[in-house]
Symmetry: C2
Subunit: 153 residues, 2 copies
């Protein structure tokens, strides 16, 4: 049996095709497959241009990307700058082996090294496996906020 | 009777003291008065430094600031860059006169001129006046997401 070696590293433009595939997998799982309108080109320029709109970490197993964490720095009028984890995905075939924990831990480390006071994300209220995962971090999971949205065009 | 003239303009460092006072008023209303740890100094450097972490619009009535809208550009892996309205406050004494609508409309205009596909915010599920306000915009108000949070230090 080959030894499975997990490596967490910063994402690069070469990771964009697998990033978009994972984003689409997650949208399917979240029952919103038609909501994804971003393209590889857009992710490329938004994430790796002169002023990136997001940061990407990838989890690589034997040189194959099996998970991603995409985050940016948001602003709270209560806490100041904070890390917002927009997407956090591990391929279904590779779940339950601690790879997600290694990836999430790396995001937490980045939050701490940026000296932010808070890290935030959202999770669907029926996504039990994810909720259980976050509970193991003693995360605060609040259901008292509604998400307001307006769409243009 | 003096004519009431409302002006919406970009915020400046001089607006920071009233901004912080309004942030604290809102935290009181949201039953979390002790959560506000940002200071005037921090808002000053975060909002008006070389690389601002947020944008500020103020509503001024006869040269007195009576409302603020604070937003930043967030990133959605479904929609790309979008406008996130972090705080939107009109002083209690000045509500019900359309000033909030004028301010919110100005934020919508800024979202459109930045060509984002989405504008987002959060509202507490018991904040009926705010919910009614957003419903007049036909906003999507979803209750199926939990807010996950970790705090540091």
């Amino acid at each position: 049996m080959t030894k499975q070696t997990l490596q967490i590293r910063k994402g690069s433009p070469e990771d964009v095709p697998v990033l978009l595939a994972l984003i689409k997998d997650l949208a399917d799982y979240e029952r919103a497959p038609d909501e994804v309108i971003v393209t590889e080109e857009q992710l490329m320029s938004d994430g790796f241009g002169e002023r990136p709109f997001f940061h990407l970490l990838v989890a690589e197993l034997n040189e194959e990307v099996i998970g991603i964490a995409l985050y940016y720095f948001a602003y709270s009028t209560w806490k100041g700058k904070y890390l917002y984890l927009e997407d956090f995905i591990v391929q279904e075939a590779h779940r339950g082996q601690g790879y997600g924990k290694a990836l999430f831990d790396a995001v937490v480390e980045n939050a701490k090294s940026e000296k932010v006071k808070r890290m935030g994300w959202q999770v669907l209220d029926w996504n039990e496996p994810a909720i259980e995962f976050y509970k193991r971090y003693n995360a605060d999971l609040s259901d008292e906020w509604l998400n307001g949205r307006l769409y243009f065009e």
